[in-house]
Structure formats: C-alpha cells, structure tokens
C-alpha cells in the first residue's frame, strides 16, 4: 500500500468553515420559538437548604417556568458514575454523585439550585435575582488535609469521614529496597487546582418534536453517544428517539466528557414545555459549574544506590475530588501509574486517599493526573542528583528502561482495568536528541557561567515522561463510497479541534485511493453512528483511527472484488488511486469509484444470493490495552530578579507517539499542550478562601497565558510504533501538557541557583517566587 497521505502535513478539511464563521457551534443553533434557561447557583459552599421561594420569579413578565428540586420529583436522582473503579484488591470507594438540582444540602459554591426558563436569556437572568433561597450556612471543608481531621465538617454526612476512596498498589517490596539504599530522598509536594478554560463554555440546546416523538439535542460534549444513552434512560425514551449532536466544539480538554445536570435538565424542560430550549453557560458559571482538576498533596520518597540507580519509590498522596466523585478514580490512578515514567523501578509502594471537599467537582483535564506523578518523580530525581553529585541528564539516562525491556509490566492496575504494561519505547535516543537540540553541554558549560558572571539568572530544565494513551474500550467507523465518488466516514467520537475531519480521512485515503478532500468525515452525531464512547485519554487517533483503518481495508476488498468482476481482471492486477480502480500497467482500463458504487447497489435481476449492497463497511477496534507514548522536554529561561517574571527563551520537545499520521496537527497538539502546561506552572491558579469561595472566577483573575507568555516550541519526533494496533500509533493529545510543571520547577531552581531553592509546589507565580527567594535569604 502506498502511503500518500499517512504521515504528511495535510491541510485540514474543516478549516474553511471555521475560518469563514460558518461552522456550527452549539450556541449558533437557533430554533423557532426557542426559550432560554438561566441556572440559579448556590452562593454558599456548604449549607443546609431549607427552602426556595420562586414565586416572584414566576410572576416576572417573560418568565415561562421556574423549576426547583421539588418540581423534578423522582427524576432528581444522583447522576451516573461514569467510570467505575478498577478491580484493585482492598480498594475502598464511596460513590457520591450530584443530583440534577440540590435538595436538602448544598455541597459547593456553584451547585445548581433552580432553573429559570424565559423568553430571553436576559429575562431569565433578571428572574434569578427574584428567587429567595433560604439556607443555613455550615462549616466548610476546603483544604484537602484539614478535611481529614476528625472534627472536620462532613461533605456527605452519611459517611463516617470525608474519605471518598482509598487505594494501595504495590510492586516488589519497597521497605526492603529502602533498607539497602545508599540514599533516600524524601519530600512533600503540593500540586494545586486549575481549570481547563476551553474558549467555548458549555451549552445545550434541546428540541422535542411531539409529533414524531423525537428529541434532538445539541451538546458541547466530548462523548455524544454516552450522553444519548444516559438521556434515553432517564427520560424513558428509546435510544433511537434521541439524537445527540456534538457539532464543532470550542475546545474540550476533558471537562466536557461528563453528564452534567444541565445536559439532563434542558432536554427535560424542552419535553415538558414542548418548545425548543437553550442554555449556554457563561464564563463565570464555567468557573463554578464545570469540573476542575488538580489538587494533590504527596509525601514521596525515592531510594537509590550511590550510583544513582533507583531501588524503589514510595508515594502516599491525597487527592481532592471536590464535592462528588462521578468520574471514579481515573485521575489519582493516572497519577499513580504515570509516576514511574520511563524508569526501571523495581519496587513501588503507592497509596492514595481521595477526599471530599466543599469545592467544585474534580474530573480529568488534559493530563488527567499524569502531570502530578511526573512532577513528583522528576523532582525526586533532581533532588537525588543534587545529593549524589550527579548530572541531571545522567541520572535519568541511568534509570531508563532499555529498548529490550518491552513489553514491560509494572504489575499495578491502570485506569483501563488492565495491568500497567508499557507496549514499547526507546527512551535514550530521545534524551540525546533533546540535549543536542537545546545545546545542553554548551549551555551548562559555557553560556550559563558567562551569563551568571554578568549577574543574569538563566536556567535550564530537562525532564522525561511517559503517557498511557489510547485506552479502550472500543470505537467504530462506517465508510461508504457514494455514487458521486465522495467517501463518507461516519464515526462516534466527537471532535474539539484535533483535526479529526482530516486525520481520519488520511487513514482512509491511503487504503481506497481517494484524495483527502474527497472524504467527508462525520463525527459527533448519534444519528450517523450509533456505537462508541468518546474523545478522551488521548485515544481518538489510536482507537477510532484504527477502526477507520479496519473499515477502509474492508471497503478496499469490496472495491477490488467488484472491480475484478466488472473489468474481468484478477484482483491482484488491480490498483487504486485518484478515485479510480484500474488495471496495473494499463491505467486507462479502469472505473471510477463512484460508478463502481452505483454498480454495487444492484438492480432487479442482478442480485446473487448473499449480496450486500454498497461499497460500505462498518468496523470496530478495541485495543487490548493502552499504548505508551513518551518524550523529553527541555527549556531555557531567565528570571528577572526584580519582578520575578520568567522569560522562556528556548523550548524543545522530542516526542514519540509511534507512527505519525499528520505531523502538522501533531505539532499543533504539542504547542497547545505546552502552553497549557506553562499556564498551569506559572499563571493559572484557582484560589479558594476559607469559606470555599472561589476568588479567581474571571479571566481578569485567572490568568491564561497569552501570545507574549508562550515561547516558540521546537519539536522533533521519534517513531517507535505500537505493536498493539495495525497503524502503530499512540495518542498525543495530552503529552504537551504533562511534564511542563516539573520542567519549569527545575529550570527556575537552576536560574535561581544562587538562592538554593527547592521548588516542591505548583503553580508558581512571580509573587510566590519572590516569597521563596525572600525566605531563602532569611534562612541564609
């Protein structure tokens, strides 16, 4: 098979629509007679809800209805547990999910209390102020450590404490390894909360057609098929009556995977009132009502030999899940399973406690806990290198799993319920390439000393990571060659900017010999494709991509079989290309695929027993387990000692995600991930006060990095194909973001070496760096 498209930087099919402003986003949906919803959210983080008086709101002109928990009755059930915990021995998990509207108790500021439905959003928001909420404030559990105190306020009073879950996983015998170690490095690490802040907020539009008894829902979801399934179940409809469309989505990054209360309530209101209904989250609501991530405290230790060989790691951590835990244990298990990185760690003890707090719910956001593990491990290695007098590059190199170690079984359970087995990898060449690209020896040996002598504070960072990607269960694709010669590819995963309309077309194009721009990918519409789970865990290219490949292989076979009959030539003598199938060596003898598609739809009298119509195939792909991508990032930065502002001067990424489908799109994923990582490391922080109030709920206070904060990223790829799928690909969506905090901390420490800082917390900020330097000066 010629690969004319796979591996090429093909321009994106979806761009013209997006660039002209013609692409449909959820808030662009207009329906005749549409009503608008505003959500009343709790001002308190923790309170007894005594009553809601909405009578004045109901009387406001233009208000059609106001709903509270009382109006929902039995429908107001706890939401679904989206991911059950993996089968780990001795695992404790208390499932507590949010009701659609709060009933007797409020558990976080921003929890939905009531809905106003009105003729316009303006009127609906006016009416929110008419509603009187009678609530008795309770003491608040905000800090993840204090929430575990015996006398801490309990988020869920039916539980004996705020412990939501407890998990221990072990490999080997850490205690024995520690006892024979030459050096043990032990520290406490704190990684605080952030938010995904996709540029498009969430939104739902629902339209119930009472005559055809069909519900159509436009939803900013990363997982339209699970939303369809859940809606049908709770509304008592057949799945075939519900169509969920995730059109163009303005960024996902994880928090759009959930089944939020609004995703149920808006369709429910549309059915109840018999009118189309729209709810669009505003940015302030997004800071409270959309799930967040991060918030862990680690007590970790690394045991090594004098030569810097790792003997074992012990990590005990707390994970803040907020008021509920609808996404199970995915985030802390990712932390636990990513900490080991590319290293040979013979003994590992890892224990975590998930804690309920009176804060917004925590679920995966790009990296989904992986960056916490990488931060802990990379920081421990830096500290160990310092203590042993070893070079930081050398200590990493000494501990890499060698290429012959794969598949490598880490003997603990990963988020996909399978043992954590790395399928493939080749780490040392990536490290070599990065040190060469960033000019490590030259910088450390010459440039840095020279600049330091001039009084400048320049530092370098270099860290490694792996990313478990492309987990199951499965995805599918249906490919149809149409009589026009166009090829339709229908899939179940939604798209949020990853280039699905292009990369999946590339996979198909090579198999059936059609140009990429003749391939129309349809994704995120449950009417078009009925089975699947969604876009998350860096799995689109791996799982859906291989499903596309499998379907394309079958369509290719069908094309060859039919063309062989039509042209009276053996299949082996046929070739596909340029939208035609033709005789090898005699390209004029052939047939257009469109014409062949017409012949594949047989007329009367032409049907043989067993005939299936069409040049069409549906295939599924479910990997045995995830494929492990890896990489090394390096940066050079300078700190201004007056302002403590950081200027990143160089940033290098060498990444291995197996075979690359579209390097242009892959590099874009890296750039964006790095930018989010930089935001996480230095600019963005969700600050909660002692009452559980979020103090940074706007873009004036929660600082997303801008074009002047994010550096040019230099990228290179290494391709170690995954043996777990026919395309040999691994996921890449989250990799850019994962190691940045660890890298940033190392580079800042290096830049401020004169103060001998130890950075064991993220996010940093100019203020925090200033404090740390002042503390160091006082200590000295």
């Amino acid at each position: 098979m010629a690969t004319r498209y796979f591996g090429k930087p093909i321009r994106r099919n979806e761009d013209p629509r997006l660039l002209r402003g013609e692409a449909l986003f959820v808030d662009d949906v207009h329906r005749s007679g549409m009503l608008h919803v505003a959500v009343l959210r709790s001002q308190y983080a923790h309170a007894r809800l005594l009553g809601i008086d909405a009578s004045a709101a109901r009387e406001r002109p233009g208000v059609v209805a106001v709903y509270t928990a009382d109006d929902l009755g039995d429908l107001n059930q706890p939401g679904p547990l989206l991911v059950t915990p993996p089968p780990i021995e001795r695992l404790v998990f208390h499932e507590r999910t949010q009701r659609q509207l709060a009933t007797d108790k409020i558990r976080y500021a921003g929890e939905a209390l009531a809905l106003v439905v009105a003729e316009s959003r303006y009127i609906a928001e006016d009416a929110l102020t008419d509603i009187f909420v009678d609530a008795e404030p309770l003491d608040v559990a905000v800090d993840v450590e204090k929430a575990l105190a015996p006398d801490a306020p309990r988020v869920h009073e039916d539980l004996p404490s705020n412990v939501a879950a407890h998990v221990i996983q072990e490999k080997g015998d850490y205690a024995a390894a520690q006892s024979r170690a030459d050096v043990v490095v032990k520290r406490r690490f704190v990684y605080d909360r952030g938010t995904a802040a996709a540029m498009e907020n969430r939104g739902v539009v629902a339209d119930w057609d009472g005559k055809s008894r069909r519900l159509t829902v436009w939803d900013t979801t990363q997982a339209p098929i699970p939303v369809r399934n859940a809606l049908a179940a709770v509304l008592g409809l057949s799945e075939s009556q519900v169509q969920v469309i995730a059109p163009f989505i303005g960024g996902g990054f994880g928090p759009k995977i959930m089944f939020y209360p609004e995703e149920f309530l808006v369709p429910w209101v549309a059915m109840r009132l018999g009118r189309p209904v729209k709810w669009i989250e505003d940015r302030q609501e997004n800071f409270f009502g959309t799930t967040q991530e991060r918030g862990q405290v680690h007590e970790a230790e690394l045991a090594l030999t004098r030569e810097g060989r790792i003997l074992g790691v012990k990590d005990v951590f707390l994970h803040d899940t907020g008021a509920y835990d609808p996404y199970g244990l995915t985030v802390p298990i990712n932390t636990q399973c990513t900490l080991l990185g590319p290293y040979d760690v013979p003994n590992y003890y890892t224990e975590f406690t998930v804690v309920f707090t009176n804060k917004t719910i925590v679920t995966p956001y790009r990296g989904a806990g992986r960056q916490h593990g990488v931060f802990v491990m990379e920081r421990l290695l830096d500290l160990a290198a310092k203590e042993l007098g070893l070079d930081r590059v050398e200590i990493r190199r000494r501990n890499y799993l060698p290429p012959e170690a794969f598949p490598h079984n880490h003997e603990i359970i990963f988020q996909d319920f399978a043992p954590l087995v790395y399928d493939s990898g080749n780490y040392a060449p990536i490290l070599d390439r990065v040190t060469e690209m960033i000019g490590y020896e030259q910088f450390v040996g010459e440039e840095q000393p020279r600049l330091r002598a001039e009084g400048r504070h320049v530092g370098l960072g270099i860290v490694s990571y792996v990313e478990g990607t492309g987990i199951g269960p499965y995805e599918g694709a249906r490919i149809t060659v149409e009589p026009s010669g166009m090829v339709n590819v229908a899939m179940g995963v939604g798209t949020q900017g990853q280039g699905h309309y292009t990369v999946f077309a590339q996979v198909v194009a090579d198999q059936i010999g059609v140009d990429v721009d003749k391939i129309q990918v349809v994704t995120g519409d449950t009417r078009e494709f009925n089975w699947g789970t969604g876009t998350f865990a860096s799995r689109g290219a791996v799982v859906a991509g291989n499903a596309c490949h499998a379907a394309a292989v079958v369509v290719r076979e069908k094309i060859l079989r039919l063309a062989s009959d039509e042209l009276e030539v053996a299949e082996d003598d046929l070739e596909l290309g340029g939208g035609r199938v033709y005789v090898r060596g005699a390209p004029q003898r052939g047939i257009d695929l469109g014409a062949l598609a017409l012949k594949a739809n047989p007329m009367r009298g032409a049907v043989k027993p067993g005939t299936e119509p069409g040049l069409e195939a549906t295939s599924y792909f479910g990997p045995e387990r995830g494929a492990t991508a890896s990489g090394v990032h390096a940066m050079i930065l300078e700190v201004d000692p007056e302002t403590m502002m950081v200027e990143i001067q160089r940033y290098v990424v060498v990444h291995d995600c197996g075979r690359v489908i579209n390097p242009m799109i892959l590099e874009g994923q890296m750039h964006g991930g790095v930018a989010q990582g930089i935001g996480n490391a230095f600019y963005e922080r969700l600050v909660f006060d002692d009452y559980g109030q979020l103090l940074t709920a706007s873009f004036m206070d929660y600082l997303l990095p801008t074009a002047t904060d994010v550096p040019r990223v230099e990228t290179a790829h290494q391709e170690t194909p995954s043996p777990l799928n026919p395309l040999g690909v691994k996921g890449a969506g989250e990799a850019g973001a994962i190691p940045v905090a660890a890298l940033f901390a190392q580079a800042v420490e290096d830049a401020l070496a004169a103060y001998d800082l130890e950075i064991c917390e993220i996010p940093l900020s100019p203020n925090r760096l200033f404090e740390m330097v002042e503390e160091a000066k006082e200590g000295a």
Binding site: H30, Y122, M199, G250, R283, G497, M664, A675, A707
Partner: protein, 160 residues
C-alpha cells in the same frame, strides 16, 4: 418589558434596521438577533477577544458594547472577510496553511483583530505580532502557528 430603541447599522455592507432593548449587547445582537453567528463569545468581560469585530474599521469587543452604541456605524464581522463564498481572505488562507487554528472558536476574533493590525503595520516583527495577539486568548494552539499565519499573511498582503 423594557423600551425598544430603533437602530440602523451596516454590517458587511448590508444595511439593517432593528428595534432593540437598550441593554442588548452588540455581540448578542449580531449573533442572536441577526444570526450572524461567526462572531463568538468566550467570556463576556472583554478579556478573551473572541467577539472582536470591526466598528468603522477598528477592532472592538462586541461583548463590551451595546447594540444601540453601534447605531449609525458600519461593522465588519468574520462573515464579511471573504464575501464571495469561494476564496478565502489572504489572512484566512494563511491560517489554514500555517495550521493557525484548532477548535476554531477564538479564530474569528483573532482574524478581526489582525486585519486592522496588518493595515496599520504591514511588516510587523514577531514581537509586534505577539504583542498584538496578546489581546486575544487561544487555548488550543499555543499561539505559535497563529504568529506564523499572521507573518505569512503580512508578506502576501504587502506583495499584492
């Protein structure tokens, strides 16, 4: 119901006359009254820049203006950049070529901010482009390919 005020605006060369509430945001007027949904809304407090449109040729945040303030003025939205339907505006084409967009939600605002920027500064340096772009937030691209796209477009616009 609040009082309505009659306004006249020209958008992408086409005149519109509507009665609007005084409190109606220009962004909502464009998107929901006129269904010109190419202009996007990301924050409604003037930080993200997704709602940027041209008012008499100058970039403004349409979420920070009321529709009544646009009375008598000429607006250009992203739909007006390449009106003939077939070709893209050189800036749009450069964004596609340089992969300057991913989810595409912030893109209309960035295009509308960069059009007047390139008119005022036809040969910008990278630092100048980044400075101009810093008025718009993008969460997907890390800005690098947006910078490339603007540079590419600058070169082409000055050639023609």
């Amino acid at each position: 119901m609040p009082e309505s005020i009659a306004i006249r605006v020209t958008i992408n060369g086409q005149p519109y006359e509507r009665s609007v509430e005084s409190r109606l945001l220009l962004s909502d007027f464009l998107r929901h009254t006129l269904e010109l949904t190419g202009t996007h809304v990301g924050c409604e407090h003037g930080v993200c820049g997704a709602c940027t449109v041209l008012l008499d040729g100058e970039a403004v945040r349409s979420c920070l203006m009321f529709a009544v303030q646009a009375d008598g003025h000429a607006l250009t939205t992203v739909e007006g950049l390449a009106p003939n339907g077939e070709t893209l505006h050189p800036l749009q084409a450069a964004f596609r070529e340089a992969h300057g967009l991913q989810c595409g939600f912030c893109t209309p605002g960035i295009l509308m901010a960069m059009v007047p920027f390139l008119q005022q500064n036809p040969n910008p340096t990278e630092a100048e482009i980044r400075d101009a772009l810093s008025a718009n937030l993008c969460r997907c691209t890390g800005y690098q390919n947006i910078v490339e796209a603007v540079r590419l477009a600058a070169g082409r616009l000055t050639e023609t």
